[in-house]
């Protein structure tokens, strides 16, 4: 099974995967990347200033084959404008 490397980007923080994980194909690697980015996002976003997490997947040759990002958007509603209506 081919190796894929899953680097993690959390705002300014970049964590390079040096070990890699084996998956039968890119499809399965993508599933892992999705689980990973959601899992890391859920863990890190509420506990830090990080608002987006990206997992960048490289193949065994080091070529990037996929990126997956989750981002948090918080929007406060301006209540003073509401009062006019």
């Amino acid at each position: 099974m081919p190796l894929f490397y899953f680097d993690v980007r959390e705002g300014p923080l970049f964590i390079q995967d040096e070990d890699g994980l084996a998956f039968p194909d890119l499809e399965r690697a993508e599933q892992e990347a999705i689980h990973a980015v959601v899992s890391i996002g859920k863990d890190r976003i509420p506990r830090s200033d990080t608002r987006d997490v990206t997992v960048e997947v490289r193949d065994a040759d080091g070529k990037r084959v996929l990126t997956v990002t989750v981002a948090l958007i918080v929007q406060r509603v301006d209540l003073s404008q509401d009062a006019e209506g």
Binding site: F6, V8, Q16, L21, E32, H35, S39, V55
Partner: protein
């Protein structure tokens, strides 16, 4: 004359003595248990979900885990087990298995017939109490895992797990100097913590980067023990280890 050859059931006695006192007579009674020794390959099921057990499995060497797999194929590991543990001790009184037990590494195990264990506990109430205590400590460990899984950050969860695995091994003489075997894969750690493998890797890289641990060739070296304890809010009370309590 005392033989230098260790009795095959010595790991069990060391494990039980780490949580309770045993008399010489009780040790002799345990050593008299009839056992069938077996060497198993890594990732081999020992007893499966749905089976009716007629014997208990004592780990003599290597690692095992209790787990369950849901229909999407995802596995949850409930516990890691080391030499001296009887992971399916509960089958003595509840023979219907509601989860599976498998090896993680090559392992030597001893199978003890339920009949012999029932006979032993009837003859020696002290041993029955010690085994009961063992299952209570087991339950205490589950509570900590639940707390980690539900409430702690991934980093603190993993730190907590490393503290626990080190202290469990230290108590039975398998670890020392903040260095212990950790013969599990990133996938095993992911299945035990409910994280993805990539997330486990990210946490391990951060721990390494902060100089707290090194993990090479199945050996965990904890380089900043106090810091690891602090970040995990680790309180060893739940392990109910005798020597630790006496300190």
């Amino acid at each position: 004359m005392v033989s230098n050859v260790e009795h095959p059931l010595s790991p069990l006695i060391r494990q039980l003595e780490s949580i309770d006192a045993l008399s010489d007579e009780e040790c002799r009674a345990i050593k008299g248990l009839p056992v069938t020794l077996k060497t198993l390959r890594p990732n081999q099921d020992i007893v499966r979900d749905g089976d009716t057990a007629s014997q208990c499995c004592l780990i003599l060497e290597g690692w095992a885990c209790r787990y369950k797999i849901i229909s999407e194929g995802k596995r949850q590991i409930f516990s890691f087990h080391i030499a001296g543990d009887i992971p399916d001790l509960q089958s003595l009184h509840i023979p219907s298995m509601d989860h599976s037990l498998a090896t993680l590494t090559t392992a030597t195990v001893a199978f003890v017939p339920h009949e012999a264990l029932h006979d032993l506990t009837a003859r020696c109430p002290g041993i029955a109490a010690t085994l009961w205590r063992d299952t209570l400590v087991d339950a205490a460990i589950f509570r900590e895992w639940m707390l980690c899984m539900g409430r702690r950050s991934a980093f603190d969860h993993m730190a907590h797990l490393f503290c626990e695995l080190y202290l469990k091994q230290e108590a039975v003489g398998l670890a020392g100097d903040h260095r212990c075997p950790l013969p599990v894969t990133q996938v095993d750690l992911a299945d035990a913590t409910g994280l993805s493998s990539v997330h486990v890797n990210r946490v391990l890289q951060e721990m390494r980067g902060r100089g707290m641990i090194t993990l090479r060739g199945s050996v965990l070296v904890i380089r900043a023990w106090d810091e690891l304890l602090r970040t995990a809010e680790f309180d060893a009370t739940y392990l109910h280890q005798r020597k630790r309590a006496a300190r």
